[in-house]
């Protein structure tokens, strides 16, 4: 290996150690600390002059802090005359763009459910500090207000947004941060990005520098063929339409059957329809004509308007969540495949639906296990029998927490280190997409 040095940010030093072991290199010496006032400081102990520098930092944990640390590390390398700076970001920062407050990127703080066993699918809007709160001199009151914001208060806010808060008719929106993140990395001095299973493939287009999006597919392929008994009889399931392509590709390669869970949010027409929020299409060929109303009490997707609304039923009238399973899973072993699990709403709900549809056993294959908020609790209580994720995010804490259920951690360091080796040598990376490591 020539003129190469690998540094680790504080997000996932164990992964860096593994990468370095694979490459036969010692990890670069770097001192990462914070001053008393909270400013991050970085000092490299090894020379980087005219070297090919790789900085490993994963985007889970204290995201903003880690991102600033990454930017400062890049900037320090650039100032220290590094030849080329490559950011190795297995889970990319802010890779999930939110379209609405119905966020896939975790639940707004303080909006976790209490009481209900499995969460419902109605999107939540965050509790914002109201004007009265802002004016309050003590910042504590704002915090406590946020902390106690429950489901019902969120509902109120949702109604307010439509009617009271916006008399001008301005439709509130959430700013997309993808371009910003890309520009910040480039402006700090990054020359190349290596990432893995990017949530939006379009994210690559936000950069003006090369982005290598590695795939975890070979890793999962290897796991399924070797560790799932009679895998040819199992069904690959995509828990939402967004991941269908990814899951279908895996099913095609392994010649396995494929099923899809489709979630729809439709404008609610009347209250009678609310009683049958969840419809299950048992057979794709029968289409919606034969759809059966699903009414098992306590079923995750199902939520009667009276119990959840707490007197704010107006907000409840807005949307119906319809979940459909397309495909047959009766007496089958299901392998749910997704790129990212954060709050775990999607996969836990998918698992319950599959079990209700007669699935025998449910595996969940997730590339990036962020598991924020009360995700671990949801996983513990869920119908998932086995969780398989990778060490793209440090999983030590999660494994320790998940006692009853089995959790398997696959190692992505070999894919990453091979990519690093190939990029350093100027070889093609594309064989990693098919064969993996």
């Amino acid at each position: 290996m020539r003129d190469i040095i690998v540094f680790s940010g504080s997000s996932n030093p164990e992964l860096t150690d593994r990468i370095c072991r694979n490459l036969g290199l010692p990890p670069g010496k770097v001192e990462l600390k914070k001053f008393a006032n909270g400013e991050t400081s970085v000092h490299f102990g090894d020379s980087v002059r005219e070297k090919d520098v790789f900085i490993v930092q994963s985007g889970a944990g204290h995201v903003n802090d880690l991102f600033m640390q990454l930017l400062i590390m890049i900037s320090a390398c650039k100032m220290a005359s590094a030849k080329k700076i490559t950011v190795v970001c297995p889970l990319f920062f802010y890779s999930r763009q939110v379209e609405s407050q119905a966020s896939k990127r975790g639940v707004p703080r303080g909006a976790q459910h209490r009481g209900s066993k499995v969460p419902d699918s109605v999107p939540q809007s965050p509790k914002l500090p109201s004007r009265a709160n802002v004016r309050d001199p003590s910042p504590k009151s704002v915090l406590s207000q946020r902390a106690v914001s429950t489901h019902s208060s969120l509902k109120t806010l949702h109604t307010n947004e439509a009617s009271i808060a916006n008399p001008t008719g301005y439709r509130s929106w959430i700013a997309q941060s993808g371009t910003l993140i890309a520009n910040l990395l480039t402006s700090a001095g990054a020359n190349h990005i290596i990432t893995m299973d990017l949530h939006d493939a379009q994210f690559q287009g936000f950069f003006d520098i090369p982005v290598d999006n590695l795939l975890s597919k070979p890793l999962f392929q290897h796991y399924i063929t070797n560790y799932v008994p009679n895998y040819k009889d199992c069904v690959i399931v995509s828990p939402d339409a967004g991941g269908a392509k990814r899951a279908a590709a895996l099913a095609d390669t392994l010649c396995m059957p494929f099923a899809l869970i489709h979630k729809e949010r439709r404008q609610k027409v009347d209250t009678a329809q609310a009683q049958s929020e969840l419809m299950v299409h048992s057979n794709p060929s029968t289409s919606s004509l034969n759809s059966i109303s699903f009414a098992t009490p306590g079923f995750p997707g199902r939520r009667s308007p009276s119990s959840a609304s707490n007197g704010h039923s107006a907000a409840d009238q807005q949307y119906v969540a319809t979940t459909m399973l397309v495909g047959d899973v009766q007496d089958k072993v299901c392998v749910v495949v997704d790129d990212l699990a954060d709050t775990c709403n999607t996969i836990t709900r998918a698992a319950s639906l599959l079990k209700d549809q007669g699935a025998k056993y449910v595996y969940a294959l997730i590339t990036h296990g962020i598991f924020s908020g009360d995700a671990m609790r949801k996983l513990k209580e869920s119908q998932i029998d086995k969780i398989i994720t990778t060490n793209s995010v440090d999983q030590a804490a999660h494994v320790a927490e998940l006692d009853a259920k089995e959790m398997v951690i696959l190692d992505v360091s070999r894919i990453l280190s091979e990519a690093i080796r190939r990029i350093n040598n100027g070889e093609s990376v594309s064989m990693l997409y098919d064969h993996g490591w």
Binding site: K34, F35, A36, N37, G38, E39, T40, V42, H43, F44, G45, V48, G61, H62, N64, F67, M68, I72, M73, S75, A76, M79, A80, Y94, V98, R105, G106, V107, P108, R109, A111, Q112, P126, L128, P129, V134, R135, S138, P139, E161, N166, T168, Y170, S172, W173, I174, A175, Q176, S177, T179, L180, N183, L184, T186, S187, A188, T343, I370, S372, G373
Partner: protein, 325 residues
């Protein structure tokens, strides 16, 4: 006939770092704070929720560098997200009002292979889409040169002068600079107040640690006013105060612009020999600071608000360098 842009108005956006200051500034300008908020998620990512149109408006984002190890970087990232959101929302001009500029002390390469983080932050702000920066008492005014956009570095000096004249005018005072770097700032003050001036020279072994101090000047029987741009861990101020009392000073008062008070800062002040410490409200105060009996606050929101008003109307800002509002 030339087409003139229609007149636009000021929009004040409050970040999560110091909503109270934003309220005060908006109050001074007789404006409502715009309905644009930063929300954070359980996975610790942030996003900006825009609930009000700011198309073609002059946007001023109030966010100061504060929060300690837990929140400082969050606040900086929030600022970048807000700037970017305003850009996406087609604001005409985006101004970041950052009274305490974060990473201002990492402004040079004091050893090899460290980052000039102040320069990085400047680049990040410009990359995000910022058109103008208003800050106050930059640790080193050279940081203005890190930007390729206009930076207005306001001074707390007029407000400090006003405070000294009103509250300490009848006492036999001497202005003291706790380090050589602040000598110019203190000399300017003592010239305007016509008071004597002393200087403490310190030798640093490590960052945030002071090893040895030497006093230059006579403070015998006088009330010493220590002037500095920030009070962080307060090690310097407390040691300086001890030294001054040792040399016969009657009492010691400290006036600083940015009261950061991180780590053991406040505990040191409480136990130390300082009679009182005066700081501006450029930083939000913790409940602990509010409870500190030795702390007094100078309100600088009028200065910031006036700067915003002048900037919007295209008037000169330099009046504020010499006059309190």
């Amino acid at each position: 006939m030339s087409l003139q842009k229609p007149p636009n108005s000021i929009k004040i956006i409050a970040g999560n770092s110091h909503p109270r200051l934003a309220e005060q500034i908006a109050g001074y300008l007789n404006l409502q704070i715009a309905d644009i908020h930063v929300i954070d998620f359980t996975n610790r990512e942030s996003a900006v929720l825009v609930k009000e149109s700011i198309r073609d408006e002059d946007v001023y984002i109030i966010q100061t560098g504060c929060g300690g190890p837990e929140k400082l970087n969050d606040h900086l990232m929030e600022l970048l997200f807000m700037i970017h959101a305003c850009k996406a929302a087609s604001a005409r001009k985006i101004t970041a009002v950052v009274p305490n500029f974060p990473y201002a002390r990492q402004d040079r390469k004091d050893k090899s292979r460290v980052a000039i983080s102040a320069k990085l932050v400047a680049n990040l702000l410009v990359t995000a889409g910022c058109h103008h920066v208003i800050t106050m008492d930059l640790h080193a005014s050279q940081i203005q040169g890190f930007f390729n956009i206009p930076v207005d570095n306001l001074y707390a000096e007029p407000e400090v002068l006003k405070y000294v004249k009103l509250k300490l005018g009848n006492r036999d005072i001497i202005m003291v600079s706790p380090d050589a770097g602040g000598a110019k700032r203190v000399a300017s003050l003592s010239d305007k107040l016509d008071t004597p001036f002393a200087l403490i020279h310190k030798e640093r072994a490590k960052a945030n640690e002071v090893s040895r101090m030497v006093l230059v000047g006579d403070v015998e029987g006088k009330v010493c006013v220590l002037i500095d741009d920030m009070a962080d861990t307060c090690g310097t101020l407390c040691k300086a105060s001890d030294l001054l009392l040792e040399r016969g000073a009657r009492s010691v008062i400290a006036i600083v612009t940015h009261g950061i008070f991180s780590g053991q800062g406040l505990a040191r002040i409480n136990q130390g020999s300082l009679e009182k410490i005066v700081c501006t409200n450029s930083m939000p105060l913790s409940s602990m600071a509010e409870a500190c009996g030795k702390l007094e606050i100078i309100d600088i929101s009028p200065t910031l608000a006036e700067a915003i008003r002048r900037l919007h109307n295209g008037e000169s800002v330099s009046y504020l360098f010499n006059n309190a509002v």
